[in-house]
Amino acid sequence: MKAAPFDYVRVSSLDELGELAAAYGDDAQVIAGGQSLVPAMAMRMARPKLLLDLCDLPGLADIRLTPDGLEIGAMVRYFELAGSPLVATHAPLVSTAVPLIAHEAIRSRGTLGGNLAHADPASEMPAVMLALGAVITVAGSTGARRIPAAEFFIGTYETALRAGEIITAITLPVALAGRRVAIDEVVRRSGDYAAVGAAFAIDLEGETVTGARLAFFAVCDRAVLAHKAAAALCGQRLGEIDPAPVLAALAQEIAPVADLHNRAETKRHLMKVLAGRLLQRLLSGEKSTHG
């Protein structure tokens, strides 16, 4: 299990990156934490001829508050997200999601940008981005673009990134006062990719639900938002909410697909159970947490 031969460059500017990416075309690939790419290379499923390491690119590892929201550099590592007071204050869903990802060793290398670019359908962070309405900033030879998370994930390992583009930052709108968030997943062992997962953000004004973003992962070819289920929730008052129509809408709009360990119907069942439990937890006002 040794990677096919490759060259390696630690780029120091976007220009340098652009030039090399253009010269090598499909044979060049960027590397961030390497936690998905390196195993794929070792198994020769990925065979880049040139690796472009982003770790020296200036500004990509910052977390800062901007007028648009909380901006997280693409190269921020999971462990930095987990330990950041800014993230805990303004995007607590991100903080609570990190411990669900893999194990300490992987979390100390893996990056948010790498995770989103990798677009694993069973990964937590894409769903978190959907639930929080993140905007993903990408840069390439033709300049920068800002892509809403809902348009970013296209399929299994597929994103809206164009050739030569990289993610530079992720912007999360700052949490509203009445927001309740939670993430949970069905896993057989802690740290595993989920059999089914859900990340919810629900906004309340007083006792009334004014907005809901119900994101699911490990259900189909990418993280998805359950719009109809969310709509069924909006306008209802806490304490009077009947989860049945919400779950029914959910079953209608998301048709889970099988994975190695679970049939599609098992995932459908688990999705409903998980959604029901997460709603119950959020609506009963338990602290935003994962279980």
């Binding site: 299990m1 198994m43 057989r188 098992t266």
Partner: protein, 791 residues
């Protein structure tokens, strides 16, 4: 943690003390020396092109591009490999009718499992060898694959080896008594179909070998991560036409084995063949994907079984049909019949069951070969027996603990012979059950379970009584024609310093064998433990023996060391008596010194004895020759096996909405005879339990309907991890075997034998309010939800 008792240690009574493994410090600080750590000059590396199909004919192989790649040293196809060694067939005479086909290191003409090695590519580095392997083009003609064992015997299924006629490798019927009448009289018949998925050993250190052939002397030194250096020496000598004495096998540190490192694998044989061909050392280290594809797999049984019980819960009879798939070959040299043979013979083993009929069918299939892995056959027999017993007890509304107490072989019945002919010298089922009941506070747990159920929390308590086969006797393997030794040997010497060196033929793979041997030597010689060093794993320097498998290291190696220590002690006292002009019988060795036997007065340090014996023999009588070395061998005798016994219990919670199982607690009471080292016994039990829990809940080698192995990484093959493991509580009962001077039996497999059954029974106990049952391992959430009718 268990701590040694300093007073006892001062007295030199190390046997029975929880002495920590001496090698643990070295290994945990990264100072291990595994095969891959050893440096060689001019080392070449081999990588393999493997079959991408479960079953396919090789139409052509184009190696030209690989041959041309700089850094590639050699490329050898299966056809060319045929000329480099003689073939092997995994059959033994004591399994009459067992059939298998000839095997060479690489597939010839037809590949028969996904991952089978097809072409060997030798490179100046492993990466270059893999680059070369990438360039090899094989043209395949896919053949229909036999994937499920159930399909193997169907009429229209082609034989995987046409020359063998069909896909049945072995058939066996065993039994005693009249099961038909027993079932006719039964108050309750518990009947069930059990499925046991495939899993694998997953050693931390993968299979590793460096073969180093010296053409000038026709000598081959093999550094091999193996449990059985002498068995491998014999295999290599015979199949490569070398003198036995010209093959040296060295097992350096070995990072786990669990039974998978005693089989003959094509890759290792290829590495040896290539070293002979090239006159260079050749290294093969399996990567994790290769481990999943080619390390032996375990289990793979479909068992249809029923148990007849009387109204008061007495087991009247069992009938069992076991169908097991072993992949395309019976594995050499031990065969793949042992797992099924033991499964079918261990059924009902703990109980006074008078009537039994078992039928075993072993079939070929296009999957990775299956062979002996920790607790060979035991978890199957245990789960089937214990599962049926619980099912019967439920129907009769009897308590599972009481029904076991009612049925176990009792103290007054020993020696006892099981319906399949196993003879038990003396077991302690009643004591173990009683001990477990108090250890786990069974009554309280049952009350709490009932109370939790009121709250909609579904907890289960599962019990599993077990017996374990250990210390196989003189008639094992050798009787079937395999050159695998049933005895072990020890050479022990005292050096001038008074230090003791012990060379022993049993081997160390991380379980602490060397510490056990040191404890036995120090105790029986009368020297401090620190002065004893133990050397294992080198055919050139250690006495000949069977080594480590079937939980035989302590039970067979131990008495060999004990006998040798007593012999060396007699030698040393003889010399001391001459020097001290005393009677040897009046002297003893304690604390590393010669003392008066009666009052313990010190007469002479062993170092002084060494000085005189080695450097001043001129001061000794003219005809006296001090013997500073002793050698002894030990063959277990009296019984075919030293059976051990015990009982396990699992306490868990089932989330009936998600099907997830949370393990809450696990208990083991076991009796491995004399406990030489309680710390290491408990490590063995804990590790064994965890592997059993893995088989019960997590581990499964998944295949597509076409026979593609779907799990190639540890992300999709789920091993049990610390986070999900329960606390494992233990108690011991000691019933020493009287057949050995040491009294120790084995303990390596007991944990694995019964943990899956305990978990299965606990899950079914938890699910009992829903009348749902699971009998297919591993018990995945999906299988539990299916049983609950939720999906």
């Amino acid at each position: 943690m268990l701590k040694p008792d300093p007073a006892k240690q001062r007295d030199g009574a190390y046997v029975g003390q929880p002495v920590p493994r001496e090698n643990a410090r070295r290994l945990s600080q990264g100072r291990g020396r595994y095969v891959d750590d050893i440096a060689f000059r001019n080392l070449a590396h081999v990588a393999f092109v493997r079959s991408p199909h479960a079953h396919a004919r090789i139409l052509s192989i184009d190696t030209s591009a690989a041959q041309a790649l700089p850094g590639v040293v050699d490329v050898v196809t299966g056809e060319e490999m045929k000329g480099l060694c003689t073939p092997w067939v995994g059959v033994l005479a004591h399994f009459p009718g067992l059939k298998s086909a000839e095997q060479y290191p690489l597939a010839v003409d037809v590949a028969r499992w996904h991952g089978e090695p097809v072409v060997a590519v030798v490179g100046e580095s492993r990466a270059l060898a893999e680059d070369g392997a990438d360039l090899i083009e094989v043209e395949w003609e896919e053949l229909p694959a036999v994937v499920d064992a159930e399909a193997a015997l169907a009429g229209d299924v082609p034989a995987i080896h046409p020359e063998l006629g069909d896909n049945r490798a072995f058939r066996l019927e065993v039994g005693q008594g009249d099961t038909a009448s027993a079932f006719a009289e039964a108050a309750v018949i518990a009947e069930e179909e059990f499925r046991f998925g495939r899993h694998t050993g997953l050693t931390l250190e993968p299979r590793s070998i460096v073969a180093d052939f010296d053409p000038s002397l026709r000598q081959m030194t093999v550094h091999h991560s193996t449990q059985t250096p002498f068995q491998m020496q014999d295999v290599l000598a015979r199949h490569f036409g070398l003198e036995e004495g010209n093959v040296r096998v060295i097992a350096p540190d070995v990072g786990g084995s669990f039974g998978l490192k005693l089989h003959v694998y094509g890759e290792e044989m290829a590495a040896c063949a290539l070293s002979i061909r090239l006159g260079r050392p050749v290294k093969f280290i399996a990567d994790r994907l290769e481990a999943f594809q080619t390390d032996i797999h375990a289990r793979d049984h479909l068992v249809k079984a029923r148990m007849a019980l009387s109204r008061d819960g007495e087991i009247l009879a069992m009938e069992v049909d076991d169908l097991t798939g072993i992949g395309p070959y019976s594995v050499y040299p031990r065969t793949s019949a042992v797992e099924g043979n033991q499964a079918i013979r261990l059924m009902g083993g703990p109980y006074r069951m008078p009537n039994y009929r078992g039928e075993l069918n072993i079939v070929f299939q296009n999957k990775t070969p299956m062979c002996q892995y920790r607790a060979v056959g035991h978890p199957i027999a245990c789960a089937v027996t214990e599962g049926l017993l619980d099912k019967g007890a439920r129907a009769l509304k009897l308590d599972p603990l009481a029904v076991r107490q009612r049925n176990v072989v009792t103290a007054d019945m020993y020696p006892h012979t099981s319906p399949t002919g196993y003879v038990f010298e003396r077991l302690s089922h009643e004591e173990c059950i009683a001990s477990l009941a108090s250890l786990m506070d069974y009554e309280r747990l049952r009350r709490e379970q009932a109370e939790a159920r009121q709250r909609g929390v579904y907890r289960g308590i599962g019990l599993a009584t077990f017996i374990e086969i250990t210390n196989p006797g003189p008639a094992f393997y050798g009787v079937g024609g395999a050159r695998i030794s049933a005895q072990d040997g020890c050479v022990m010497k005292m050096e001038p310093s008074g230090d003791i060196r012990v060379m022993v033929s049993v081997t160390e793979q991380g379980q602490g064998t060397e510490t056990i041997m040191a404890q036995v030597a120090a105790t029986h010689l009368g020297v401090p433990l620190e002065r004893v060093s133990v050397y294992t794993g080198d055919t050139q320097t250690s006495p000949y023996g069977g080594a480590t498998w079937a939980s035989r290291g302590a039970g067979i190696g131990g008495p060999a060391v004990m006998k040798t220590a007593l012999a060396l002690k007699a030698n040393l006292l003889e010399t001391a008596a001459v020097i001290l002009q005393a009677e040897a019988g009046d002297l003893d060795i304690r604390g590393g010194a010669v003392v008066n036997r009666k009052d313990g007065t010190q007469r002479m340090e062993l170092a002084e004895l060494g000085r005189i014996a080695y450097f001043r023999p001129d001061t000794l009588p003219a005809d006296f020759h001090p013997e500073m070395t002793a050698a002894r061998h030990y063959v277990p005798q009296g019984y075919p096996f030293a059976f051990t016994n015990g009982i396990q219990a699992s306490h868990l919670e089932v989330d009936v909405e998600t099907g997830l199982v949370r393990l809450l607690d696990h208990w083991v009471v076991e009796d491995c005879g004399k406990v030489i080292n309680p710390l290491l016994v408990e490590e063995q039990i804990r590790g064994g339990v965890v592997q059993g829990l893995g088989g019960a809940l997590f581990e499964e080698c998944l295949y597509s309907p076409e026979g593609q192995l779907l799990c190639g990484t540890m992300a999709d093959y789920l091993t049990p991890m610390a986070g999900e493991m329960p606390d494992i509580h233990m108690a011991h009962v000691e019933t020493p075997t009287l057949t050995s001077p040491l009294g120790a039996k084995g303990v390596g497999e007991a944990g694995t034998a019964a943990a899956p059954a305990a978990v299965m029974n606990a899950i079914n106990d938890a699910l009992s309010p829903f009348s749902a049952e699971v009998t297919q391992m591993p018990f995945t959430p999906e299988r539990i939800l299916t049983a609950l009718g939720k999906v």
